[in-house]
């Protein structure tokens, strides 16, 4: 991979690049090179945890217990610590998610401007409950704390793409776009 890209930068589209074989060793080939490169940038292995988790999620689509345990082994940390860190960040998925991960901001600004309704409509459109993946494996709707675009409530992020000023009536169009 190119040296110019920060090793912490990974695709946030989990399942699109997900490795289909969850039993395979975690980082091999190019991923092993990236892993070594990440380690070389930090004073100790613990410091490399976030970018390594990012890469693991890119590869596997989500952070399964097995993946977390493997990351802990690789970085000489304890599994409970790695999970503590992973569970803190909403961008790390601790359950398998759909092809389209729909994150709705429910921070104070969005909440005041009707995020709740947007969430409800999205759940209805996808036929899921919060955090669940739709039967066809396409959608997972989650609530997140703040997407950093408070001037444009409600903010919705689908995989890498951010949608601003989403109103309940925009949901239908959004779903069409995703299909």
């Amino acid at each position: 991979m190119s040296e110019s890209i920060h090793p912490a930068v990974c695709s946030a589209q989990p399942s699109q690049r997900a490795d289909k074989n969850p039993d395979a060793p975690l980082f091999e080939g190019a991923y092993k090179e990236r892993f070594d490169h990440i380690l070389s940038r930090y004073p100790n292995k613990r410091a490399a945890l976030l970018p390594v988790l990012n890469m693991a999620q890119e590869l596997r689509g989500w952070l399964s217990p097995a993946t977390i345990t493997r990351v802990a082994e690789l970085l000489e940390l304890t599994p409970d610590y790695v999970r503590s860190v992973a569970s803190f960040y909403t961008m790390f998925q601790l359950r398998p998610v759909g092809r389209h991960l729909i994150q709705v901001c429910i921070g104070i600004g969005c909440d005041l401007c009707g995020a709740e309704e947007v969430v409800e409509d999205l759940l209805e459109a996808t036929g899921t409950r919060i955090g669940e993946t739709s039967r066809d494996g396409k959608y997972t709707v989650v609530e997140v704390e703040c997407l950093g675009a408070c001037g444009f409530p409600t903010v919705v992020q689908v995989n890498d793409k951010v949608y601003e000023n989403v109103k309940p009536e925009d949901v239908e169009g959004l779903m069409k776009e995703l299909d």
């Binding site: 977390i68 409970d80 610590y81 999970r83 503590s84 569970s87």
Partner: protein
């Protein structure tokens, strides 16, 4: 890594107008405490690293904002106010916020009554009804652990449990999950506590300030401390000898709960056995009346199907009283004691004193051990007295006595902190000496390089910087190769070798024959690793060596220990801080029972039998002539019983049927005895062969001193009244001695200790008064002002030449090697939750709930090859017998090996073990024999 040095700088500050001087680095909270000013705090405990997350301890240091006193360090000239209106308001508001969604019922307040948050609420006069809001989603309860209740709703995320788990016990089970309001503590990968890798040490519940983590009731309902009687005593289990406070309900004569108590050896830490394994003393199966075997049950033999070796009926974890009791009738103490005395006396008159023998126990106190050996020596007239130390560290002690003239540890385990390198070999420390292991793990996390050498990848191996998995029984080859490297690369301490040792030339010549490449072929450790580890060890300024049964329980046990001693002598790692030889003692009083003379070849304090001056000393003290010949050891006594040369035996607290190797042979031997008196707290497997069974007292029911692995002599105090007619063990020994014509009379344990210390120079000066509250290390020349000698042999050894001796040894394979018929290697040992033959721990509710049944462990690859999985039954067979038990997959066990814990009577490991002996220590080879594994049907 360089170890942090303690500060020598002193800073002076003013706290609430008072001038206080403290060492640099001291926090304001600690400084205030030292001046007698208590600052309220929730997230901090002096045993934990401060994190300052609760903000309750804020003080005014004259800055714009208040400072958290638990993390802010005192600085020169600092002016601190610990109370003011502003501080008061701040703390009160914090308390209100924490209480706003606190459950109406705190489990801690309802039990020990010491919920710190509710105490603060009372202090600040907060009315909870004004502020209460219902707890949010997901703050549930988790009752899956058998011993600890988790109430997430009462958790204030103070982080104490996480630090206790990570930094005190180093189990790394507790972490956190989520963020914001949804944050909770989590076990492993957010598993229920009971399904996690939690080892139930209870440290989290001990430090939790609220009702989030609390102990479950094990006996009678847990109540506040003030309503209970407090007894400062010890843990009855392992050689670490943790100090414990038992909280007793005097009305029901029951231990309600146990807490760690401060002592230099344990620093208030406990493991699952110490904290939760106390209820066996109240088990309904306690023996309460003397029992005599009924006429119709002669000739003697085993009574239960299990002990007969028949596989009938339901396999169970306990002796079936219904099956065994009918063979005995209740008797009065007079009748039972007269019978014991007259039968033993009769055998002595007919067949001579050497037809008698006694087994004491390393679970008995120093006083009981001393009196028991006195009974055998002065009254029976023989030196045939031994105990289970023979089965654990006899070979280590043989090697230590031969080379450095003393069997004692040369340093305490907690000094591992000062070591650059620690070697742990043949020791499953986290299971067998859990609290000693916390000190080793602690050191490994803070700069000590930990080398673990074992055939199994045990819990302590997880913390090792270098883990060497060796082939079972190949220790000598590995250590010889390490010494080969040390000498070859000149990493030895020439000054030390010149000044303090002898026999170096012979060692150098012998280890020349063991280059690492040769050792690699024997022990399976790559030559490069052997070199690397030897260099790490050789370059250390201070290195300490710990070992356990994996070293000693081999036919080459003495050789293994000799190698370890040579390693230490070669590098001068004895007698200084952070150095030493420490064979980790198993039972709570292994060290003491040996010190007190429960050994056939030595009198108390290792004074040799057969030396005329010593014999004279004890003849004068005890007023009778003594046998000048050393007696027989445990396995030799059993062999003697089998041959008929040993006819009468008295056993105090031993259960050789389960603990001795080759049970099928032990069964015949016990049945062959003319007379057997068993003194115990439960009907054991061995008691099935008894003519008389005497009900004794448990650890909780007597005063006595116990000497731990560190040589720390501590006092165990009476916490409970004995059940029924059960009597103190020492009184029973006195009764039998007196009835055999040798008057023994003591006012109490203290008087016996006085007599013992007068004959044992190492214990000179110690008494019950100066041993309180945390004991002393022997030798203790100045008990009034010192804790005893921590480091031994810094200036030479108690050998005739004052030098330590190198004893070079050649590698020899184990006595019984695997072959086509028996292709696996059998290894035996213990589990964290159980103790030896299980008589205590299997009657302890919590411990039995965690590990209820017999299991063996195999490598998953081996299981797969045999189409077996965890939970299936297997038959394990050796040339001596077969057992059937469940199998558990474990990556810790190397392919080709089987590990069987020996606690379980329904699948007794010692039916399988080989009774081949180490020629010097006379210890059987528990850790190696050839075994066959075959799938089996579950027992009917």
């Amino acid at each position: 890594m360089i170890k942090p040095q303690k500060s020598t700088r002193i800073v002076t500050l003013t706290i609430d107008g008072r001038e206080v001087s403290v060492p640099g680095g001291t926090t304001i909270w600690e400084a205030a405490k030292s001046a007698g000013i208590e600052i309220p705090v929730l997230c901090h405990d002096p045993r934990l690293r401060p994190v300052g997350v609760c903000r309750m301890c804020v003080v005014d240091v004259g800055e714009r904002v208040l400072a958290a006193s638990c993390v802010r360090q005192a600085s020169e000239g600092m002016k601190v106010r610990t109370s003011s209106d502003k501080i008061h308001t701040c703390r009160k508001t914090l308390t209100e916020l924490l209480l706003s969604d606190y459950p109406a019922e705190s489990r801690r307040e309802g039990a020990t009554g010491d919920d710190m948050l509710l105490a603060l609420a009372r202090d600040y006069g907060i009315d909870r009804s004004d502020i209460a809001i219902p707890a949010g989603d997901g703050r549930t309860q988790d009752m899956t652990s058998p011993v600890i209740a988790v109430d997430h709703a009462a958790c204030i995320l103070c982080d104490r449990c996480i630090r206790a788990c990570d930094e005190i016990q180093h189990n790394d089970v507790i972490g956190r999950t989520g963020k914001g309001y949804g944050t909770r503590i989590a076990f492993d990968l957010n598993a229920p506590m009971g399904n996690s890798t939690c080892v139930s040490c209870g440290e989290c519940a001990a430090v939790c300030p609220t009702g989030a983590l609390t102990n479950k009731t094990l006996t009678v309902q847990i109540r506040p401390r003030e309503q209970l009687k407090k007894i400062d005593s010890l843990c009855p289990y392992c050689g670490v000898g943790c100090a414990i406070t038992f909280h007793i309900d005097p009305d029901t004569n029951t231990v309600v709960f146990a807490e760690g108590r401060h002592s230099p050896g344990s620093e208030s830490r406990l493991c699952v056995k110490g904290r939760y394994g106390f209820d066996y003393a109240k088990h309904p199966q306690r023996l309460t009346t003397p029992l005599i075997r009924r006429e119709e049950f002669y000739p003697k033999g085993p009574l239960s199907f299990a002990v007969k070796g028949e596989r009938r009926g339901k396999p169970g974890g306990l002796v079936d009283y219904g099956e065994v009791m009918p063979a005995f009738r209740e008797a009065t103490w007079e009748e039972a004691l007269d019978l014991v005395a007259s039968r033993l006396k009769g055998i002595k008159q007919r067949s001579g004193p050497s037809a008698l023998a006694g087994f004491g126990s390393a679970k008995c106190s120093n006083e009981e051990a001393y009196l028991f050996q006195k009974l055998v020596r002065a009254v029976f007239g023989t030196n045939n007295v031994d105990h289970c130390t023979r089965l654990c560290h006899a070979s280590s002690v043989a090697a230590l006595l031969e080379t450095i003239g003393s069997g004692a540890v040369t340093n305490v385990f907690s000094d591992v902190h000062n070591a650059d390198v620690a070697v742990v070999t043949g020791s499953n420390t986290t299971a067998n000496h859990p609290v000693a292991a916390t000190f080793i793990k602690d050191a490994a996390a803070s700069g000590t390089t930990l080398i673990v050498i074992d055939s199994r990848e045990t819990g302590i191996a997880r913390h090792a910087h270098h883990f060497l998995r060796i082939e079972p029984g190949s220790d000598v080859a590995l250590y010889n190769a390490m010494m080969h490297v040390l000498i070859g690369e000149d990493l030895v301490n020439h000054d030390y070798i010149r000044d303090f040792t002898e026999g170096f030339e012979a060692l150098r010549e012998l280890v020349k024959k063991y280059p690492p490449e040769l050792a690699e072929g024997i022990c399976g450790v790559p030559a490069a690793t052997i070199r690397e580890v030897a260099r790490v060890f050789g370059r250390a300024n201070a290195a300490i060596i710990f070992w356990g049964m994996g070293i000693s329980q081999h036919t080459t046990g003495t050789d293994n220990a000799r190698c370890l001693i040579s390693l230490a002598l070669l590098t001068g790692n004895i007698g200084r801080a952070g150095t030493g030889l420490h064979p980790l003692r198993g039972q709570n009083n292994v060290q003491g029972a040996s010190d007190a003379g429960l050994i056939p070849m030595v009198y108390p304090d290792y004074q040799k039998v057969g030396e005329p001056a010593t014999q004279k000393k004890f003849e004068e003290a005890w007023g009778v002539p003594l046998d000048p010949n050393p007696g027989l050891t445990v396995v030799e006594i059993i062999n003697g019983a089998l041959k008929g040369t040993i006819k009468g035996m008295y056993m105090m607290g031993e259960n050789p049927f389960l603990s001795d190797p080759n049970s099928n042979k032990v069964r015949k031997a016990l049945a062959n005895l003319d007379f057997l008196c068993v003194q115990d707290i439960f009907l054991t497997e061995t008691a099935e062969f008894a003519d008389v069974v005497l009900p004794a007292t448990s650890f909780f029911e007597k005063d006595g001193t116990y000497t731990n692995s560190d040589r720390r002599v501590q006092v165990g105090r009476t916490a409970l009244q004995p059940p029924g007619q059960a009597r103190l063990d020492w009184q029973l020994v006195c009764e039998i001695a007196t009835r055999m014509g040798y008057e023994m009379k003591y006012a109490g344990a203290e008087e016996i200790f006085e007599e013992f210390t007068s004959l044992a120079p190492s214990y000179a000066g110690l008494d019950y008064h100066n041993l309180s509250p945390t004991g002393k290390l022997w030798p203790c020349p100045d008990p009034a002002s010192s804790d005893g000698k921590q480091l031994l042999f810094g200036d030479g050894f108690p050998t005739p030449s004052r030098r330590g001796k190198f004893v070079p040894v050649e590698y020899q394979p184990a006595a019984e090697l695997p072959d086509d018929e028996y292709p696996f290697v059998l290894n035996t040992g213990r589990l964290l939750e159980h103790w030896h033959t299980g008589t205590m721990t299997r009657r302890s509710k919590a411990l039995d709930a965690i590990e209820p049944e017999a299991v063996c462990e195999l490598n998953p690859d081996d299981l797969e090859a045999m189409a077996l999985k965890s939970g299936d039954y297997v038959n394990l067979s050796t040339r001596r017998g077969t057992i059937t038990l469940k199998v558990r997959a474990s990556r810790g066990v190397a392919p080709g090996n089987v590990f069987v814990p020996f606690h379980f009577r329904e699948a007794s490991a010692n039916i399988l073990t080989n009774d081949a002996l180490d020629p010097f220590g006379k210890i059987p080879e528990y850790k190696y024999c050839a075994v066959k594994v075959a799938p089996a049907q579950p027992p009917a």
